[in-house]
């Protein structure tokens, strides 16, 4: 089949088509969708999952999985707000210090995950579940209850604009550029090789352990950025933030055409997958379904989409 051949390795095209259909349906149901205000608020809601899904892609490409990303989001959030509050001033320098502390925390989490899974050879699913428990324990130690508002410069900047475009859109563009740059680096090829055939990658002399740790660090770094975005949205600390993000990111990655077994896929696909998940929620909300049926319909559509994504990715 020529169509199937054309789609080979480009599963994200199907995800893109699904996204376009969802946008059309959404625009039909919600007449003001294409106003700047609504588009911006949609992007603000979708951005954290987009970021985490991109990060999760690099781990899954290497044949691993990271179930601790939700806990990393919570930990980075509380570290950031606590550091800002500790400095005490409400200026840009304090915010910047908080952001840097948050990013460093994320990288540390990623290194820890990678060390356990790649160097100590623990099974990724259970190991990252356990580290997730650890991270959320530390988050609760840092900030026992939700609260501690961030200074106004933080959330005003996040909700504001820069050069006539909203900041959230700039972040989204930056994510796409980062994905493009990472995609052109040899590191991505190494990740894919490690996920596709680990023993062969090892035998050709690839530093398999280091590559896998690199995947976990990337995932944690993207989760940290997602957490900083969420912090800009909620403008406060919450040690229980990010509960459902881990499994949501796995769904987004699969929807984007990345094989869960590793070795093939793309982070661009995951961006589309995350947007599709967000749009499914939107469409169901605006379709005027009775409230109690919304979760069920969303579950069925998501399962069908996941199944469809897997079937198309295999052809």
């Amino acid at each position: 089949m020529t169509l199937a051949n054309a789609l080979k390795g480009r599963v994200w095209l199907v995800t893109l088509a699904a996204l376009i259909v969802l946008v059309i349906v959404n625009a039909y149901l919600q007449s003001n969708l294409f106003t700047p205000r609504v588009l911006k608020s949609n992007l603000t809601v979708f951005l954290p999952l987009v970021l985490i899904a991109v990060g999760q892609t690099y781990v899954i490409l290497a044949g691993d999985i990271d179930l601790s990303v939700g806990a990393i989001v919570a930990l980075v959030n509380v570290v950031t707000v606590t550091v800002i509050a500790g400095i005490g001033t409400e200026d840009a320098a304090a915010v910047l210090a908080g952001i840097l502390a948050g990013l460093a925390t994320g990288v540390a989490c990623g290194l820890f995950n990678g060390f356990l899974v790649a160097a100590l050879r623990l099974q990724p699913i259970v190991a990252t579940f356990a580290t997730g428990i650890l991270f959320s324990g530390i988050a609760l130690r840092v900030l026992p209850t939700a609260g501690l508002p961030v200074p106004a410069p933080y959330w005003r900047t996040y909700a504001g604009g820069l050069f006539a475009l909203p900041v959230v859109l700039w972040i989204f563009i930056a994510v796409l550029i980062a994905v493009g740059i990472l995609g052109a680096r040899p590191f991505l090829r190494h990740l894919t090789a490690v996920g596709g055939h680990r023993a062969a990658a090892f035998q050709t002399g690839l530093a398999v352990t280091r590559v896998r740790i690199g995947g976990y660090v990337l995932a944690a770094l993207f989760s940290a950025v997602a957490s900083l975005c969420l912090t800009g949205e909620t403008a406060s600390g919450d040690p229980l933030m990010g509960g459902s993000l881990a499994l949501g990111s796995v769904s987004a990655v699969v929807l984007g055409g990345t094989a869960l077994s590793g070795g093939s896929g793309s982070a661009f696909g995951s961006v589309l997958g995350a947007l599709v998940i967000g749009m499914i929620g939107n469409v169901i909300f605006f379709a005027g379904l009775p409230f109690e049926y919304q979760t069920l319909v969303k579950g069925v559509i998501t399962l069908a989409a996941l199944a469809g994504g897997v079937v198309i990715a295999r052809r």
């Binding site: 099974q123 259970v126 650890l134 109690e292 919304q294 295999r314």
Partner: protein, 318 residues
């Protein structure tokens, strides 16, 4: 020395040692921890985790990255359905078990068909199914907690029946016996291990792998549904996310019990010990009267420590 080392890294020995150490620590921290009544309570909680882990173990042993993440939602569904069918009537217990188990069995079969016929990776299929069931729970319950356990069921699960042990422990023992018999004494059991170790080889040997695998997911669903009945019997009533807390512990009990997530190895006896060790650990942490974060930290650290002792994957070789 070598023999000693091999004995020490044997999962069954490790899990038993972990149980003894935890009992010792518990008794040291709060005298009376290792007494009969308290142990019966811990075993009851272990039984609930052990029952759902039985299904999880089957799916994992069956291989091809087998895992069932929908068990939590199925437990909630089983509890909700059973609670509404019983609604406190002793006479309706049997039909409640039938309804909860049957529905969960059918949903498990759908999981199995998704995994075998459509060839969706188990993690994705059962994750998606979890979302569907959670939606179904909202529809069924309309968001309001409903249904309650029959008094006889609560007595069966909470009160001593014989030798100071509640009835649910005998059910667990029967399930363990059945698991042992199926896995080690029947053609089906050998087919499951063969399939878990090498699916292609098993199929060429005449194992109808699709059928067996579908059945495994059905059985995992069935066990989760029955666990739901036990959960509502344990607490008296249910809410729609009551089962969520069992999803990853069921996987961890399986891993601690010496079943590799790669499939094809391990047995249910180890999983029984794993479920008890996990429940004991949580119980010891509760006795410590630490703040929640401290309990979380120790729980996570001990899990990682246990996994370090075994459950590691093979070293890459040239």
């Amino acid at each position: 020395m070598e023999r000693f080392r091999r004995l020490l890294t044997e999962p069954l020995v490790l899990a038993s040692l972990a149980i003894l150490v935890l009992l010792g620590v518990g008794e040291f921290l709060s005298p009376g921890f290792a007494r009969g009544g308290q142990i019966a309570r811990i075993l009851t909680v272990s039984a609930i985790l052990g029952l759902v882990s039985a299904g999880q173990a089957l799916v994992v042993i069956g291989g091809r990255e087998g895992i069932d993440l929908s068990v939590g939602a199925l437990i909630s569904l089983g509890a909700l359905v059973a609670g509404n069918v019983m609604s406190g009537e002793n006479g309706a217990i049997f039909s409640a078990i039938l309804a909860a188990g049957g529905l969960a069995f059918v949903i498990g079969l759908v999981n199995g068909m998704g995994v075998t016929l459509v060839r969706i990776p188990p993690l994705v299929m059962t994750l998606g199914m979890m979302g569907v069931i959670q939606g179904g729970l909202v529809v069924l319950s309309r968001g309001i907690p409903s249904g309650n356990a029959a008094p006889a069921l609560m007595t069966f699960i909470n009160r001593p029946l014989v030798f100071g042990l509640p009835g649910v422990l005998f059910v667990w023992a029967l399930v363990a016996l059945a698991m042992w018999f199926i896995l080690r004494r029947t053609a089906l059991g050998y087919a499951i291990y063969a399939m878990g170790a090498n699916e292609r080889a098993a199929r060429l040997c005449g194992v109808r792998t699709g059928l067996v695998r579908t059945l495994l997911y059905g059985l995992s669903g069935l066990m989760a549904g029955l666990t739901g009945v036990c959960v509502i019997g344990y607490t008296g009533n249910s809410f729609i996310s009551v089962g969520d807390q069992y999803v990853l512990p069921s996987v961890i009990a399986v891993v601690i019990g010496g079943v590799s997530l790669a499939g094809g190895t391990g047995g249910y006896f180890g999983v029984v010990l794993g479920a008890i060790a996990l429940t004991l650990l949580q119980s010891v942490l509760t006795t410590l009267q630490l703040e929640f974060w401290g309990r979380q930290l120790i729980f996570g650290a001990v899990l990682l420590g246990l996994m370090l002792l075994y459950g590691r994957t093979k070293r890459l070789r040239v």
